[in-house]
Amino acid sequence: MILDSKIPEGPLAEKWTNHKFNVKLVNPANKRKYDVIVVGTGLAGASAAASLAELGYNVKAFCFQDSPRRAHSIAAQGGINAAKNYQNDGDSVYRLFYDTIKGGDYRAREGNVYRLAQVSVNIIDQCVAQGVPFAREYGGLLANRSFGGAQVSRTFYAKGQTGQQLLLGAYSALSRQVANGKVKLYPRTEMMDVVTVDGKARGIVTRNLVTGAIESHSAHAVLLCTGGYGNVFFLSTNAMGSNVTAAWRAHKKGAYFANPSFTQIHPTCIPVSGDHQSKLTLMSESLRNDGRVWVPATKEISEKLRKGQIKVNDIKEEDRDYFLERKYPSFGNLVPRDVASRNAKYVCDEGRGVNETGEAVFLDFRDAIKRDGEDTIKAKYGNLFDMYQQITGDNPYQVPMMIYPAVHYTMGGLWVDYNLMTTIPGLYALGEANFSDHGANRLGASALMQGLADGYFVIPYTIGDYLAQNSNERISPDHPEFKKAEVEVSERIEKLLSIKGEKTVDFFHKKLGKIMWDYCGMARSEEGLTKAKAMIKELKKEFWSNVNVLGGNEELNQSLEKANRVADFLELGELMVDDALSRNESCGGHFREEYQTPEGEALRDDENFAFVSAWKFLGEGQEEELNKEPLEFENVKLTQRSYK
């Protein structure tokens, strides 16, 4: 199949405007004859559900949490980018577009990214109109701050809780449509499969997480706004429930999966403290503005420190290696996320890591406190310091913080065209669930922008084009295709419950996570990936013969929920490894040890790998088929990133 990205013709700046004029419309009176299913209620899902309902479509919105407001978008801290140029510092739509393409290491589509930059300004207007309390200056106008990968201040924020405030804004719009009767909410309901009729997405099968009921819902189009799959690593900054199931079931029904191995590993997270750890907590990127990253200069000092024979504050200045400042004198501690993460790994691999585990580096505010005073630092980062102390029990005003990289975001996802439609007609993917805008590395404060762009300003236009060309005839959820899918879902659940093996679901999840982290994490090699592939296959086999899922289907059963999700992560893990193996270059978050410059930096191969990898599922137990969508750069010149 030739992947048609459907990027409109014409100059970059006019593509979206022309496209909006060229798409077909559904007239206002006919919109009520179409039903749309939205799975997931994060920024992308809630904004799409609300906007489509406002237009007049009938929307059903699903989430596995107890309320739409819990979706993991809520945890985003830093902010949201927009090319408003309120600061008069040289920002523009083109600059935001350029920074995003470059930040993504030239593995994203120009057309999509330009549109994202264009609608970014509308997002801020929309959120302010909803009553989102963004930070303001004394004059009453909006405040901005700067973020990694940009030389302008274009990030809008609401304390350290920007994701929360934006999500609550979208949730309020969604709630209004629930009150209007245009959206029907299905909380504590998990999508188990997508149903296609005559090759088009016509609905989903769900499991009611309280009663266990397996139910079918039909519609004219289905939107997957189900987030990323970082939890394949078990430990990540994602919420415990974040999962790949909806996207993966769609993949197995024919939707191509793009760049699955593109994972963002965030450098500043609170390190793992023991085997009991269930998740990792992010400390905002902004800390690197004042904190200095270092480890002891020798293995011996690190060892003494780990054994508690010396204290960190006793280590002399000459025994401290500020490795980022040493290697990257011009960017110092503010190198991009992928570079900072990789270098932390290098020093820990050398045995110079700190913490009991040896897997942490220091982020030290001693010099900043000496320079600016404790009060200034407290005003800037007080809440983060408190959070750190709450979790670790250490006071970062007195001893340096310890940080380590952790899985944070997945740039990969379901392949979509310019209209956000997957390779299954009528099935769309929005937000982190799709692959489209961040290339091989996402810039800070861009995830919120993309989720809301897709939901508020892209899908309301592009979905009409599809619906207008399809009959509004409704299909019964008793249609044989739905019944068939229900049977498959029930059989799988019964199978999981009947294995009654010896190991818990978490046992398998943790094991998978370790394989992924060791071999498909910050640094990858052909040898390691090949090994990982065999290990995952073996683990998958063991899962299906030795997992113990307690309880039954007809009840609230959290073991069963987890088992369903982990079963899909096991399959996804294998595809991620395949994807990483097939991309013989390093780019952004994808670092193959075989492909690096003599200085140890990522070495891209634009001649052979300037494409999107889109994987097609061919059947159980079969290798997936790799399809390539070439990336064409007409406006941006490809260059090697350097931060020396």
């Binding site: 819990r70 945890a75 801020i124 207007d125 009453g140 719009a173 009991h276």
Partner: protein, 249 residues
């Protein structure tokens, strides 16, 4: 450390439910409270016993999903969410009692899991500004004094966990409801629907079966986000002025 847990077990809403005691050992003080329960559940699962069900998701104190009533306090001894409570707040040998939120409007679904959809319905009654996507003015055309924006942000920080209801002897939802009413009453965007919002949200709150406020301040003391009861005072002002001048009498 070694602990004794007295955990509320209840099969479903219809079940009577009761406490069950568990011994747990080898707990590190670096664990969060929920990770301690993960250890218990891993033990139970290995023994073939149904794990203790509890709500949780982000585990970084912002989604509002976790909801345990620990030793008579919502979210336990610290003023945080349960997921941010760490075992260093407890000592070796402690007996810890864990219950679900207790309120008529929050029926227990299983063990420690309750249904908080009533909160969603209160927001649906009017916790929004009625603007459609698109067609809104430029963001900087609505200047807002910083002090007002900050006050609105303080109220908007509510995570909807329900600790205020669980803490209140009357199971009142006034702190939750007032946080949203305050946020929108303070901001210029919320002025158009100010009166009708207060009337409708308060009516919905009452219809859900939450109790009245008697100003004990327990909600504020237990709120993991420090939402102030001055919001309740503001809500009461909003409500009274809306009712006395209501068009819908």
């Amino acid at each position: 450390m070694n602990l004794t847990l007295k955990v509320w077990r209840q099969k479903n809403t219809a079940d009577q439910g009761g406490f069950k005691e568990y011994k747990i050992s080898g707990i590190s003080e670096d664990m969060s409270f929920l990770e301690m329960l993960d250890v218990l559940n891993e033990d139970l699962s290995t023994k073939g016993e149904d794990p203790v069900h509890f709500d949780h998701d982000c585990r970084e104190g912002i989604c509002g999903m976790c909801s345990l009533y620990i030793d008579g306090k919502p979210h336990g001894p610290q003023q945080t969410t349960t997921c941010q409570l760490h075992m260093r707040s407890f000592s070796d040998g402690d007996v810890i009692t864990i219950e679900p939120w207790r309120a008529k409007a929050f029926p227990v679904l299983k063990d420690l899991v309750v249904n908080r959809s009533a909160f969603d319905r209160i927001i649906q009654a009017g916790g929004y500004v009625s603007v459609n996507t698109g067609g809104v003015p430029d963001a900087n055309e609505i200047p807002i004094p910083k002090s007002i924006a900050d006050l609105a942000m303080d109220a908007a920080q509510c995570i909807g966990c329900g600790a205020c209801v669980a803490a209140c002897k009357n199971a009142s939802a006034m702190l939750f409801t007032s946080a949203k009413i305050s946020q929108l009453a303070l901001l210029p965007q919320g002025q158009v629907e100010r009166k009708i919002r207060a009337e409708k949200m308060v009516a919905q709150m009452d219809a859900e079966g939450f109790g009245a406020c008697t100003n004990t301040g327990a909600c504020e003391a237990e709120c993991p986000k420090g939402i102030s009861i001055t919001n309740i005072a503001r809500m009461n002002r909003e409500y009274f002025s809306a009712v006395v001048s209501s068009d819908s009498v």
